[in-house]
């Protein structure tokens, strides 16, 4: 069967380089001679403890190559919760989720946000692929309301992507959501404070998201199916729409900040001796 497929695929090649089935047979004969090595078909079926678990559920690519390499199943899992822990809310959520939102919207799914601390701004979200037909904002303030709305939306299994801010969820409440989410086809993201890192949670995937000054996102996988994750992944990310206005000088804002701090330190020492307000002013303007 494999040979037939190979022939059919290589139409433009008159003679295939090798006959696949015979090659496979020789390999199969050779391998058992070497102890400690398994035939390839057995090898493929074995899961080893140091590998990433490959979930049976569906995943959606995160859009970042480096992140996909570390996520089990190479993408954001559907049928389960994903926790995003941040020191401050509304700093980098859309930047991390923009690629997956673009996929969801392209497939006709809706993006539902529950209880964001600030007003989502659609003209900016357009750069993340959202339009006004695919965004629903549920304003829920009380923690119980947020949980109830999230649970209803998960159970209804009607939203393509659910993004919910649950700053005060307890672990038994999350476990309940996770049980519901197993029947939900879309990915479910819960935004929680970084302090929740020390609480146990039923979410199979928990990531710590930090904002990097040089147009980066720092992601650390706190919990995943598979080995523990060391260090952090740096994802290049420019907020939608800002690519067009970033000049080469602005590529590394950390250098600008460092230069400004050096200058301020120098000016502080100058200021002890002489005051020169005009020069201060001129320098500030050039820094812009």
């Amino acid at each position: 069967m494999a040979a037939v497929l190979q022939w059919a695929g290589d139409d433009e090649e008159p003679v295939p380089s090798s006959f696949p089935s015979s090659q496979h047979r020789t390999r199969g004969r050779r391998l058992p001679a070497r102890p400690g090595e398994l035939p390839p078909e057995v090898e493929a079926a074995i899961w080893r403890g140091n590998e990433l678990g490959s979930p049976v559920t569906h995943v959606l690519s995160s859009g970042f190559h480096d992140l996909d390499a570390e996520l089990p199943g190479a993408g954001w899992p559907c049928h389960s919760l994903t926790e995003i822990l941040q020191p401050q809310p509304t700093v980098a959520e859309w930047r991390l989720l923009a690629p997956v939102m673009r996929q969801v919207v392209a497939a006709g799914g809706n993006v539902v946000v529950v209880g964001p601390p600030k007003t989502p701004h659609l003209p900016g979200l357009r750069f993340a692929g959202l339009d006004e037909r695919h965004l629903v904002w549920v304003q829920a303030e009380a923690p119980a309301e947020r949980l109830w709305v999230t649970e209803q939306l998960i159970k209804a299994n009607a939203s393509g992507l659910l993004l919910s801010w649950l700053p005060q969820a307890r672990q038994e409440q999350l476990r309940r959501l996770q049980v519901c989410a197993q029947a939900c086809d879309g990915p479910v993201f819960l935004c929680r404070p970084a302090a929740a890192e020390h609480e146990p949670s039923a979410a199979p995937l928990r990531i710590q998201l930090r904002f990097g000054v040089d147009w980066q996102l720092q992601v650390h996988l706190l919990k995943r199916k598979g080995p523990t994750h060391e260090g952090s992944i740096l994802l290049p990310s420019v907020p939608g729409g800002l690519e067009s206005i970033i000049t080469p000088r602005l590529r590394r804002p950390s250098e600008l900040i460092a230069a400004r701090e050096r200058r301020e330190a120098r000016e502080a020492t100058h200021a002890v001796g002489s005051t020169a307000p005009e020069r201060h002013l001129k320098r500030r303007v050039t820094a812009h």
Partner: protein, 442 residues
């Protein structure tokens, strides 16, 4: 044809009780087939018959269906379960204590049965015995002409129907619209957990009723009546309502739930009767057994769930955006309740960079060395972007007319902790200027 006959075990002398027992059993039977009938409900031994030939495939084959009926009917207090090609034959075999009418040809099975097994024959038992007939086979061997002349028409009709020579007509049992079943306990029960044995029988009936209606229950009430020998202070009885989060008819789950609740109940007097009422019944979607998986449409549509959320939180809490053709950030978009109609044509939006979150009100920032401060001194990256105008946009609030005129210089600013921000500098009433935080590029 595959007929099953079920004989309830404890038949009370009271006619209404007897009808209750058979109708409860018939309700349970309706989950397997709509062809369920009660045979001779007022006779000494009433029976419930059901025709299962067309249901076998649905329940995984004849053998598995028979095993399931046998197991569950034993819990329901069925004395005898018999199978035969005709309903009267099944009843006759059941009354004779035999279960299988398919082991031999039907007439050989029936010929040896005593006369009492068919009610129409038993009515003439005295005469027939004097004629020397002890079994159905002997009655059948008598000349048909004489038999029809000397005895009534029912005798010959019942015999023919039992042997499958004449079609049978039944009055099918209709499924009741609501479920309430009573059970008289065999002995007085003094401990609440011991009620479970009787309650399980009622739960089985309820689960059969739910299966026939393709529904599940989210709340049911178990009522118990104290027997007549109670003390006056104990009252008539008590009741308990059990609620489940999801509609179900899983008998094991319901039994376990009921056991948990019964463990907390203390009975004031011995209990003689139980009653079970299904309160909230919801349609239950069943998994299809087809080979090819269907496109999944589990759950409800987004509109429905948003409607439900809006009903609880208020319509102003479930919002969809509408882009307005405006260059001022506050009025660039408008959030309206989700069910409202949106303009057919999508409005054009500005093509300059825009933040993804905005603050409801611009936040005034402190300054240090004339630089805006928000969680540290901000590094201004790009700008200024001048947004000006709005003198045409007059609003009247509290009798005071103001124009929403703005004159702002927007900057993209960077904070090491708070991310990429959208701040603006504007002129205040006098000559001083102020910095405001308006949005975040999150």
């Amino acid at each position: 044809m595959l007929w099953a006959a079920l004989l309830p075990s404890d038949i009370s002398s009271d006619a209404s009780r007897r009808t209750e027992a058979t109708s409860g059993l018939a309700t349970w039977c309706l989950q397997f087939t709509p062809r369920v009938a009660v045979i001779e409900p007022l006779s000494e031994s009433p029976a419930v018959v059901m025709e299962l030939a067309s249901s076998t495939r649905l329940f995984g084959g004849k053998r598995r269906l028979a095993a399931r009926v046998r197991e569950e009917s034993a819990d329901l207090g069925v004395r005898q379960l018999s199978w035969a090609p005709t309903s009267l034959a099944a009843v006759a075999l059941a009354r004779a204590g035999r279960s299988n009418g398919f082991s031999k040809p039907l007439d050989q099975c029936l010929d040896g049965l005593p006369l009492e097994t068919l009610v129409a024959v038993a009515a003439h038992q005295a005469t027939l015995v004097r004629l020397g007939c002890q079994t159905l086979g002997q009655v059948r061997a008598l000349p048909r002409g004489g038999l029809s002349r000397r005895f009534d028409a029912q005798l010959l009709a019942a015999l023919d129907q039992a042997y499958g020579l004449r079609p049978e007509a039944h009055e099918w049992v209709q499924l009741p619209d609501s479920f309430a079943a009573r059970l008289e306990l065999m002995s007085r029960v003094e401990l609440a957990p011991a009620l479970l044995f009787g309650a399980r029988r009622l739960l089985l009936q309820m689960s059969g009723w739910l299966a026939a209606r393709h529904a599940g229950v989210t709340a049911f009430t178990l009522r118990w009546c104290h027997d007549s020998m109670r003390s006056k202070s104990a009252g008539d009885g008590g009741e308990m309502t059990v609620r489940t989060a999801q509609a179900t008819r899983d008998i094991e789950h319901l039994t376990r739930l009921l056991a948990e609740h019964l463990a907390k109940v203390e009975l004031l007097a011995p209990v003689g009767d139980l009653e079970l009422i299904a309160l909230d019944v919801h349609a239950l979607d069943e998994k299809s057994l087809s080979l090819i998986p269907e496109p999944q449409q589990a759950g409800e549509s987004l509109t429905l769930v948003l409607e439900r959320i809006a009903a609880r939180l208020g319509p102003q809490c479930v919002l969809r955006p509408v882009v307005m053709e405006d260059h001022r950030v506050e009025w660039m978009q408008h959030w309206q309740p989700a069910p409202l109609a949106r303009p057919r044509k999508l409005n054009r939006s500005v093509d300059i960079p825009q933040p993804t979150f905005v603050l409801p009100e611009p936040l005034r920032l402190a300054t240090r060395n004339e630089r805006p401060v928000y969680q540290g001194v901000l590094q201004l990256l790009a700008g200024p972007h001048r947004v000006e105008g709005g003198w045409w946009d007059r609003v009247t609030e509290d009798g005071k007319t103001t124009t929403r005129n703005v004159a702002r210089d927007y900057w993209v600013a960077l904070s090491e902790h708070a991310g990429v921000l959208w701040v603006f500098q504007t002129r205040l009433a006098d000559t001083e200027t102020a910095w405001f935080l308006h949005g975040i590029f999150a």
